[in-house]
């Protein structure tokens, strides 16, 4: 970053797919947007190195202060990308493959509607991690997300598959409206876990301040999660929501809290 923008930058071309097959000079010419003005990447970034022939062969390292840059890694399908610092919103949004690593924090809407690939954030994530786009009942369907710090609210909303792991704490609303997938929170949670959940799994190692009344106690069970074996309280739910049947039996969502 050589020329910090006054406002924020939208860098939806900064992905392995956007760079594939291009030289540094060509990459410098790619469009970037600051509000309603369009300029080139070269105005704000030094570009060195050439991309691979395909997205899969391309590795991008983003250096410098990109706290005001949005859409890094958006829609990437393959390849590798490392953000050395913290980034703004939509990191890896709509990604379908490849590996994306953010060494700092990321803001809201990271991995929106993820369809595959891997997102690792060494710092914290904002709200709406791995959530669906507004109005869409098809959220994250596949892929893995690992947040080493904390995450915000509304993670995994309308999730249908894939896995989210948060090593730290999360805010309210985990896997609201989910129809599949798994979310593991190693730290503490607050409330509204699994609200209106049709199917899916939530595993909490730390506290749950307030349980949803729709989650019915269902005994205890021993689970191995991420190499750790422990005893968990098991709850099924959301008992207020509709559920599917498999082989004649109703399939409920599962919530596990480490004892």
């Amino acid at each position: 970053m050589k020329n910090p923008p006054a406002l924020y930058l939208e860098a939806d071309n900064v992905t392995p797919d956007g760079f594939a097959g291009k030289t540094a000079a060509q990459i410098t010419e790619l469009h970037v947007h600051e509000g309603n003005t369009t300029s080139t990447l070269g105005k704000y970034f030094e570009v060195s190195g050439n991309a691979g022939a395909t997205a899969a062969d391309t590795k991008i390292i983003v250096k410098g202060d990109v706290k005001k840059v949005k859409y890094l890694g958006m829609k990437m399908s393959a390849g590798e990308m490392v953000i050395e610092g913290s980034a703004d919103q939509y990191v890896g949004a709509w990604m379908t493959g490849g590996k994306l690593l953010a060494k700092g924090n990321v803001e809201a809407f990271a991995a929106t509607a993820m369809r595959g690939g891997e997102l690792i954030v060494e710092g914290n994530a904002g709200n709406y991690l791995g959530a669906a786009y507004r109005g869409d009942w098809r959220g994250m369907s596949s892929g893995k997300i690992l947040i080493k710090g904390n995450a915000g609210s509304d993670i995994g909303m309308y999730m249908t598959g894939g896995e989210i792991v948060v090593n730290g704490n999360v805010d309210v609303h985990v896997m609201t409206h989910a129809e599949g997938g798994k979310t593991i929170v190693k730290g503490n949670t607050k409330s509204k876990l699994g609200g209106q959940l049709v199917d899916g799994t939530i595993i909490v190692f730390g506290n749950i301040e307030t349980m949803m009344p729709g989650y019915k106690p269902n005994g205890e069970v021993e689970l191995e999660v991420d190499g750790v074996k422990a005893l968990f309280s098991h709850y099924i739910g959301d008992m207020g929501e509709r559920h599917k049947k498999r082989k004649g039996a109703i399939v409920y969502g599962n919530l596990y809290k480490k004892i």
Partner: protein, 438 residues
Amino acid sequence: MTKTITDVICPFCGTLCDDIEVVVSDDGKQLHEVYNACVIGSEKFLHSQSKDRVTRPRLRQADGTWKEISYDEAADYTAQMLAKAKKPLMYGWSSTNCEAQSVGNEIAEISKACCDNTAAVCHGTTLIAVQDIGLPTCTLGEVKNRADRIIFWGCNPAHAHPRHMSRYSIFPRGFFTGKGQMSRKMIVVDPRVTDTAKMADVHLQIEQGKDYELLNALRVAFKGEWLPDVVAGIPKEKIREAADMMKSGRFGIIFFGMGVTQSLSKNHNIDIAIAVTKDLNEYTKFSIMPMRGHYNVTGSGEVFAWQFGFPYSVDLTRGFARYNPGDTSSIDLLNRGEVDAMFTIGSDPGAHFPISAVKQIANVPSVCIDPHLTPTSGVSKLHVPVAFNGVETGGNCYRMDNVPIDCRKVVEPPAGMLTDEQFLIMVRDRLRKLKGAA
């Protein structure tokens, strides 16, 4: 001599009463009396007669004083501000008519701005919920004629929509509700003992921040499943009673307001309340309706939607419309320093936004279109007073149940004052020249 104008529409709140009568002087220049309106509505009409109104645009000078300028100069300033800005925000639109909103949209499209209305601090979360789960609703006349179960959740119509209960929801004798309030059961859910709660058959004095849990419990109760002893401070027996009362009605309606739209969980509260409504339609007939605040915030949402595709928080900076509250919503844009010019009309963000956002308005070039002196006009660089919409000029508005009603002009504005629409047209035409647009 005087004349009485009937069928006048009150331009204050989303109840949009249209049975107001206004007595004006024969020459139409003075407004004398208002009949049928509540105290807030009466004041809306009567205060237009204040002798100390600001009647011309004023531009903030370097020494902090105001200097009166012409509407032409004000339109120049506004157009230039919008033309130069990389990401202007055009906010408000809720206390003006659809015709003005439409010209505003043209301006936003030409200048590639973000545009937003007061739903951003009000029922925007309702719109998010509707987008996620839908909306079983009806017009207010259906409530008047059929409803026998009325639930006010997180709202206080006795204060905020004073004639709502007498015109639509509790007292009227409708076609199938000839016994008026005796045909109806009223449930109020509110942490406070409000004047509305005092009227209720059942007041669930819910623990703050636990609306989502209580609504979940109702859904569980409908299905006859296990419940913990207490949810949100309400014992499970009371929850099951409330669930039964809802199911046993012939036609129920849930009205809701800021108590749930802007408290913990926001859109999720509304989402699950809509789920409750949908569940109840398996047993009886139930609808749900937001108590919209400003008298034409609904209209702004409608006009944004049919012209751009989204009801609020619309980002046009790329030349096409994008939407995602949290990114494109006004308070977030201001707090994060994303905006370099502010245009406010038909609203008062200076009073309603968090102070961190208001400070941003003070830091950027800003224009405020408003007949009043407000906290917003106070921090803006240019203040353009206009005629009172719905009093001194007419125009279409949409009620809280989306019914369109064409407001009337009942009295002349002070001499030489323009309407919103007239001023916006001046801005638009100048902007077109500056941008070389078609």
